[in-house]
Symmetry: C2
Subunit: 340 residues, 2 copies
DNA sequence: GCAGCGTCTGGAATCGATTACATCGCAGGG
DNA sequence: CCCTGCGATGTAATCGATTCCAGACGCTGC
């Protein structure tokens, strides 16, 4: 006995009206004790579950939030999704996910079909007209776009990049390479700016190669790096994936990390501390980020009792491991240092 | 002009009834040419989008499928989610995700609230009463449970494990270790069985250590392995994560892979081919698996025109890379071989 | 000229809940 | 004793689409 039980079935079994059943379930204190017990018993007996579509239609909300990410296959998002879903679930919300590259028409519909109450945007490259056309509460997470009319949550990417440069400079590297993300990407641009600022501040030489955050981009950058003269002794990759690709290809080319070159990553993905060598990297607290975004969205939806101020805990930190060390001390380098 | 446009607004602007607007949108061929054009123009002018909740209620379906996974933070699922979402999107379905450990009550609701038309189950450890209580089309993917009344899609885990053993045996390893998943898990159990079978078939020595698929489990297993006498020269880990943890800890203990010990993983995650050494592993075609599951579910929902037979392409393969090699030829081993 | 048929369109029921408003009974104050 | 007020409950409107059914219209063929 289940599946197609409606509220009228419960009502007739309990000998009350549907209004009373509805109230007994959603506002128990407004229903008399005896009646409530009778209703609850009928609910149990029939196995009744409210029909979401009917409730959503009547209440004009979907009890659901939508996550839009530029590539669901990217493992970087896993922990963020997990955190968002936990928070959402706690607030009684379901979680819908979609790749943001499903095509303009479908994308527009997603924000319009009334099946999500709010959106977590992990993509800063969607057409702003589409995004601003949605009349839903939104939060930008990690990536962002100035044109979107929505609050942002994320780390200070420029500061994070500067930390990486600082670290390499502190180890006495005088020439560093940045393997960045693609030109159009805000994260890539901001981290590159931070890199440039850091390099300028420390008076060291900085070079940039554009990549796209992937393993292959890192490997490709390693081959380019090997041909540079003089070769930078420190490398800052815009993502851990990229850094691992770089290190892996270095090994194939006969270079050791950190003996021949120091490498700093970005993100602190799960594997970073188990890579060989363990990767020095900028930690993005992904779980905290996801949680903060979900909380902020729940707040915007007016579902939270307590409004908490912006979480100050979302700061990037550098995690120093074994992929960075002082630069190799070959003759030319010693000579250079002596000249200073 | 948008957001709160209803079908009646479009109808009155176009000077037709709501029935006609509805038909013009969902079955254009049943509406006269002139009328259809007028309706479409009104749709454009008003920016009308159908209300999903209303349509779902009337049609008694949600145009949405639910993915249930035991841990959304597990990066293994990323590619699967991505593939499922692609197929679902192509079939006009939204994708909802949930961690399957959200608590029994919430879990029961998920399958009952009418907001999903079908479920992709990636968890074989949910209470069968809950799962079988759902009256929705379901597909079990990767993990499974005999008690669930739902078709399964996944690789042959026992055969896959045997392939790993074969590979090690072919390299002349005579004593191999299996770092398995946790006891209750079907994947762990099946792979362990395959391991045992393989070992027996080749007449070599096999030992098993229970882990839980994680990096740390692999690292822990490495420490245990180092204390074994004699030490197995080949290791088959039940997941790539575990294998990477094992190799990483081996390095910390002063053992080299594959010089001192050969390691085979399972899954072929993205990093496997870039790890140092590149990991020999059993490839699970995750994208194909996700795609097949989504297609099968779409078929069950009766949304597909063509029913395609079970995809035979979903077979595990072994990808041989650099983490496996013949066993080290120390004296004791040479002696043993000589005795054969 | 008319029956018969096919095409297009509109009226109204329907999906299943929530909720504004009305009603009823009873307790307490004037 | 009547009236007010309040708590508990029922009646019916409502959310916004889809779809059954029937009617209008134009043609064809006899």
């Amino acid at each position: 006995m289940s599946g197609r039980v409606r509220i009228v079935d419960v009502a007739s079994l309990a000998g009350v009206s549907t209004a009373t059943v509805s109230r007994a379930l959603s506002a128990p204190e407004t229903v008399g004790r005896a009646t409530r017990d009778r209703v609850m018993e009928a609910v149990r007996a029939t196995g009744y579950r409210v029909n979401g579509a009917a409730r959503d239609l009547r209440q004009q909300r979907a009890r659901s939030l939508l996550i839009l990410a530029p590539n669901l296959a990217n493992t970087f998002f896993s922990r963020i999704f997990s955190a968002i879903q936990e928070e959402a679930s706690a607030a009684g919300l379901a979680v819908q996910i979609s790749d943001s590259r499903i095509g303009r028409e479908k994308l527009v519909s997603l924000g319009y079909d009334g099946r999500a109450d709010g959106i977590v945007l992990l993509d800063g490259a969607i057409d702003p007209d589409v995004v601003n056309g949605w009349r839903l509460p939104m939060i930008q997470l990690c990536e962002w776009n100035e044109a979107y009319r929505a609050p942002r949550i994320g780390i200070d990417n420029a500061a994070a990049a500067r930390m990486a440069v600082e670290h390499l400079a502190d180890l006495c590297h005088r020439s560093v390479l940045h393997v960045s993300g693609p030109d159009g990407n805000v994260l890539a641009v901001t981290r590159r700016e931070g890199f440039s600022d850091g390099v300028a501040a420390r008076g060291i030489a900085g070079t940039t190669l554009a990549g796209d955050f992937t393993l292959e981009a890192g490997a490709c950058a390693a081959r380019r790096w090997a041909e540079l003269r003089p070769r930078p002794t420190g490398v800052f990759c815009a993502s851990d994936e990229c850094a691992l690709g770089f290190i892996s290809e270095c090994a194939a080319l006969g270079f050791g990390v950190p003996d021949d070159v120091s490498v700093v990553g970005f993100d602190d993905i799960d594997f970073a501390h188990r890579f060989l060598p363990a990767l020095t990297t900028i930690r993005q607290p992904r779980e905290a980020l996801g949680r903060a975004a979900a909380k902020a969205l729940v707040n915007l939806l007016g579902l939270a009792q307590v409004a908490d101020p912006g979480d100050p805990a979302i700061a990037p930190t550098i995690v120093v491991r074994s992929s960075t060390a002082p630069p190799p001390t070959d003759d030319s380098r010693v000579a250079t240092i002596t000249l200073d």
